[in-house]
């Protein structure tokens, strides 16, 4: 007899088996063990089917013109927005389509630059004496735009330092935050260490000093239930291609009041009410930020991806990710000469593990694993300052998702164990 808890546990363990048939890239028995979902995820057929159905019925511009096709396209586009809004606990008008998460983060930083230059609401105007706070562990997408904002406005960029293992804590943030901090931008989940930041507490600390909170949610929204309203952040960014959706679409989610105060850095058609030769008045969010013909087909694809993930069940997915996190840690820990970066075993972490292999460069590790049919990611993962802090140029990262099987992790472990012998490095 199975109890409900057992049944749930079964459902969790069976997740990869259940979903694999939907993923053409993984269906083939010779398919590699794909352990690079933190870079980009594979796509279920439902997503491309939704795109194709939309395109083949006849594309049309959205929010422009009066035709029935335009109406149909506009509804499909806005339905996708509602899907994404529901998925992250935001209102529909709090969801702005972007090209990717990088674009979303830039939209905030560039909007603040415009606010500082007197173009629009002054709420986000920065100047000399003001501070922008990030962490030393950020992805370049959540670092360079802030460096540039600091240079444009005269504000100072500061950062929460990370420890030798790549982690940082709420206490480190408390020390760095002060009354001059105007922006605190950090990742919900690190794409290198898997560290999960205590967002509500950090947001509260930041808000207490009057700072705007910008969350890089690239590695959280795809993998764990995220309720932006409950997290209390002002802006959040994530990408479609990491959550079963297509490339070419990302999201800037913003609290209504924050979006309303942000000037649109990118301007053009569909964002305006009245335009004269010298001036333009802008629509309310989200339209204000969606300049030009949007990635309509890809938004519809992302809507389908979100519904797919809801169909799987977010709790079920999160539980499986916890299993995978432990399995990946155990696999890496079991191999001599392999060092894990990030939180120690036992700490909560995302389903990804980055390692350094003694005596073998990450490129060679990755190449060897690739030849063994295990696809991982090697390099600095767009986090050079963090790698510098870790004292290595590059690491090897394995990351899982709903379609990752126990077998995939076992193949990773077996191949990893062969690396040092192959390159003739003695243990």
């Amino acid at each position: 007899m199975t109890t409900p808890a057992d049944a749930d546990a079964d459902a969790v363990a069976r997740l990869a088996t259940d979903v694999r048939p939907d993923f053409p890239a993984l269906r083939d028995e010779h398919a590699p063990a794909y352990l690079d979902s933190a870079a980009t995820s594979q796509t279920p057929r439902q997503v491309l089917d939704a795109e194709r159905a939309f395109v083949d019925a006849g594309t049309a511009a959205v929010h422009r013109g009066a035709s029935e096709a335009t109406g149909r396209a506009t509804l499909a586009f806005e339905d996708a927005r509602a899907d994404v809004a529901r998925f992250v606990g935001a209102r529909e008008d709090e969801i702005v389509w972007t090209q990717n998460a990088t674009d979303a983060l830039n939209m905030v930083a560039l909007g603040m630059a415009d606010a500082s230059a007197g173009l629009g609401d002054p709420r986000f105007a920065l100047g000399p004496g003001d501070e922008i706070l990030v962490t030393e562990a950020e992805h370049h997408a959540n670092l360079i735009p802030w460096q540039r904002l600091a240079r444009r406005t005269g504000a100072t960029l500061r950062w929460v330092p990370v420890r030798e293992d790549g982690t940082w804590s709420i206490d480190d943030a408390r020390v760095a935050l002060n009354s001059r901090t105007r922006v605190f931008a950090f990742a919900h989940v690190s794409n290198v260490t898997g560290l999960i930041a205590p967002v509500p507490e950090l947001a509260e600390l930041a808000h207490a000093v009057g700072a705007t909170v910008v969350l890089d949610a690239c590695q959280s929204v795809p993998h764990m239930p995220v309720d932006l309203a409950a997290l209390g952040v002002d802006f959040a960014a994530f990408s479609g291609h990491k959550m079963l959706g297509p490339t070419g679409i990302g999201v800037l989610a913003g609290r209504a009041d924050a979006l309303a105060a942000l000037p649109p850095a990118r301007t053009g058609g569909s964002t305006i009410t009245t335009v004269t030769m010298t001036d333009a008045e802008f629509l309310p969010p989200p339209q204000r930020f969606e300049a030009g013909t949007q990635a309509v087909t890809q938004a519809i694809g992302l809507g389908a991806a979100v519904r797919y993930l809801e169909g799987v069940g977010r709790e079920r997915l999160a539980a499986r990710e916890q299993q995978l996190a432990t399995m990946l840690m155990d696999a890496a820990a079991a191999v001599p000469g392999v060092h894990i970066v990030g939180p120690a075993a036992g700490h909560e972490r995302a389903a990804l593990v980055s390692v350094v292999v003694d005596g073998v460069h990450a490129h060679d590790v990755g190449q060897f694993l690739d030849a063994r049919g295990v696809a991982v990611r090697v390099g600095h993962h767009c986090a050079q300052p963090l790698h510098r802090r870790l004292g290595v140029a590059a690491t090897t990262r394995a990351s899982g998702y709903l379609y990752t099987s126990d077998e995939d992790v076992a193949r990773f472990r077996a191949a990893l164990a062969e690396v040092r012998p192959f390159f003739g490095v003695s243990s």
């Binding site: 929010h63 422009r64 009066a66 035709s67 335009t70 109406g71 506009t74």
Partner: protein, 155 residues
């Protein structure tokens, strides 16, 4: 296709588009609001004033736009004049609900001639046209009630 067109452009709508009841802004209006449809540049300004008994003594509009927006403004001014704010707000809500109802449920009789706009619900790009004057009217009512809150009536 032609049935669709007939359901959108009912004769009463085409008539109202030409008739334009309530066209013209009175100098007596104590609240005014301008509303724009950015897709096409259509615009309507509504102006209202309340009588001592709380009913709308003035309800006029000016603007230019498609037959749907013009007819809707005309119908609105016939329907809402000489009613009190609460009644008018109910009518606005009912009109909006009818336009949002893609299923085509029976609209309330209280909307009178304005039920002719039910067909618009199926033309999603035209809902804004039909709502334009009504949204402007709602904004006028908001102005008046905001003012009443800050200047309590002499008793």
């Amino acid at each position: 296709m032609n049935t669709d067109l007939a359901s959108l452009y009912q004769q009463v709508i085409l008539d109202h588009a030409r008739k334009r009841s309530g066209f013209g802004l009175s100098a007596d209006a104590t609240a005014r609001h301008h509303e724009l449809n950015p897709t096409c540049g259509d615009e309507i300004t509504v102006g209202i004033a309340k009588d001592e008994d709380g009913t709308l003594s003035v309800l006029g509009w000016e603007g230019q736009g498609c037959s749907i927006s013009m007819a809707s403004a005309s119908t609105m001014s016939e329907l809402c004049a000489h009613r009190d704010a609460a009644e008018v707000r109910t009518l606005i809500d009912q009109f909006r609900a009818m336009l949002r109802d893609r299923e085509g449920g029976e609209p309330p009789e209280s909307l009178e001639d304005a039920v002719a706009f039910q067909g618009v619900a199926r033309f999603v790009m035209r809902i804004k046209c039909a709502m334009l004057a009504w949204v402007a009217l709602e904004a006028c009512l908001d102005q008046l009630s905001a003012r009443e809150r800050t200047t309590p009536a002499a008793s």
